[in-house]
């Protein structure tokens, strides 16, 4: 019984090893990021960037972005970190390794550093005095992207350009309650970025 179990374990192990050696499949450790992104605007910094991971079928990306807003562009110097996830279900292949992912939808949660921003309101406020946290900001967006797969030094590398139209919770609530005065363009914003997968 023990021998059979051992054999089974070994075979599973071999199967995993064999899979890792298959060409085209990544053999890197799970925690090594799949790609890097550089992002402009989108309420998570003037510029933000960081590593990300992609699902096996390449439709779901999750990123960690470190953003910085200089005082010159924002009236206040602000540092923001964001966790962001993007789902791009469809891929249209074009010539020469080019492709389009026409539709993306996603969400993010950002955290902005600063003593003026609260996560848990100070105890001198009555419970529920303000219902939102000013440091954390959840948002959502739709967009699309275009990219190209290239073989550089025998490795497949991927470059993508993407755009996003987004908004965040506080503006969305304002919009829903003021359909007469506010237009969608009042609460939306445009952002874009580049992605490099390796």
């Amino acid at each position: 019984m023990k021998k059979i179990l051992l054999l089974l374990l070994l075979s599973v192990n071999f199967a995993v090893l064999a899979q890792d050696d298959q060409p085209g499949l990544k053999s890197r450790k799970w925690y090594i990021p799949d790609h890097l992104k550089l992002h402009f605007a989108g309420n998570i910094g003037f510029l933000s960037g960081g590593p990300g991971y992609v699902s096996r079928n390449k439709t779901l990306e999750t990123d960690l972005l470190f953003g910085f807003l200089p005082k010159k562009f924002g009236g206040d110097a602000l540092i923001t970190i964001s966790a962001k996830t993007t789902y791009s279900p469809w891929k249209i292949p074009l010539k020469n390794g080019y492709y389009i992912r026409p539709f993306s939808i996603g969400a993010y949660l950002s955290y902005t550093f600063g003593p003026q921003f609260d996560t848990k309101w100070p105890s001198y406020y009555p419970a529920g005095y303000y219902w939102w946290a000013t440091s954390f900001r959840p948002g959502a967006f739709v967009g699309g992207k275009a990219g190209r797969n290239m073989v550089i030094k025998n490795q497949v590398r991927q470059f993508e350009f993407y755009y996003e139209l987004g908004s965040y919770d506080l503006l969305m609530i304002s919009y829903v309650q003021n359909r007469e005065y506010l237009k969608l363009s009042d609460i939306g914003n445009l952002s874009f970025g580049v992605k490099m997968a390796f």
């Binding site: 402009f40 309420n43 003037f46 009555p126 939102w132 000013t134 506080l170 003021n178």
Partner: protein, 268 residues
């Protein structure tokens, strides 16, 4: 990649010339055009040019917060009133202390036929709000004189400063009341009334007594509680008036003359 960099340069170019907010970098950014700066100073300049009449007539409204549609309706209603000199906003201009909200309200209020002035509310202090207020409107405590009247605007949002005894700034209030060589009738405007729980309890008595001790004080005005109120709250001869919120669709029309005043409640 060359196309990408060209595209980025193009979009960066657009971002600096585009109308407000195509690109946003943080909800708490404070990005203002020249026409959105120093609004208190600019509007005081307009008010002091209005010819002084026997009676002063102004609108006192407040707590526009997240009620943009209602504030638009307020502007329509206010523009139909007769002989109004100016409009005073009792604070809580914004709901989340976001600069974008202050811009929206200014965009609505600039359709008024009259200049408007504001006092800061507790919601306007949240996050980067007070910084945005200072840059967009002006100082949190300020005064101006018009005809026989002196208006004193004071930040009474004690709770936002942890009830630390700093707010309202009573020494400043005393100095402004004392600085009145022409004995102008004085009207003091704040957001949180002294009888509200968000006003520093340790300063309540001294604040009320300071107003009562001034021989030139005409009455005092507040918002915050989203309800009309009036009364002599401290049995000291000082009349307190409170306006309601834009959500409640109401405001006050205040008419002043030498020996009295009339305060009318309007629902729109």
């Amino acid at each position: 990649m060359k196309i990408f960099s060209q595209l980025i340069i193009l979009l960066l170019g657009i971002s600096f010339f585009s109308c407000d907010g195509l690109f946003q970098f943080n909800p708490n950014e404070i990005v203002l055009k020249e026409s959105q700066r120093n609004l208190t100073g600019k509007n005081i300049e307009k008010i002091v040019k209005i010819p002084v009449k026997d009676t002063l007539r102004f609108i006192f409204m407040g707590d526009s917060q997240r009620w943009y549609d209602e504030t638009t309706h307020f502007v329509k209603s206010a523009n139909q009133q007769r002989a109004i000199d100016f409009v005073l906003h009792a604070g809580d201009i914004s709901d989340f202390g976001i600069t974008k909200e202050l811009k929206w309200i200014n965009d609505i209020m600039k359709d008024l036929k009259y200049p408007y002035l504001t006092v800061i509310g507790n919601h306007d202090i949240v996050a980067n709000g007070s910084d945005a207020y200072v840059r967009m409107f002006g100082p949190l405590d300020y005064t101006f004189g018009y005809g026989d009247y002196k208006f004193i605007f004071i930040n009474t949002n004690s709770l936002e400063y942890g009830l630390d005894g700093s707010t309202p700034n009573i020494p400043w209030l005393k100095s402004q009341l004392a600085d009145n060589p022409d004995k102008k009738q004085t009207i003091v405007i704040g957001h949180v009334p002294p009888f509200d729980a968000d006003f520093d309890k340790n300063l309540e008595k001294e604040y009320a007594a300071t107003l009562a001790a001034d021989p030139n004080l005409k009455f005092t005005l507040y918002g915050h509680q989203h309800a009309f109120k009036e009364g002599e709250y401290y049995n000291d001869g000082v009349q307190y008036y409170q306006t309601t919120s834009m959500g409640d669709r109401g405001y006050l029309i205040i008419t002043c003359w030498k020996d009295g005043q009339k305060v009318e409640r309007v629902q729109f």
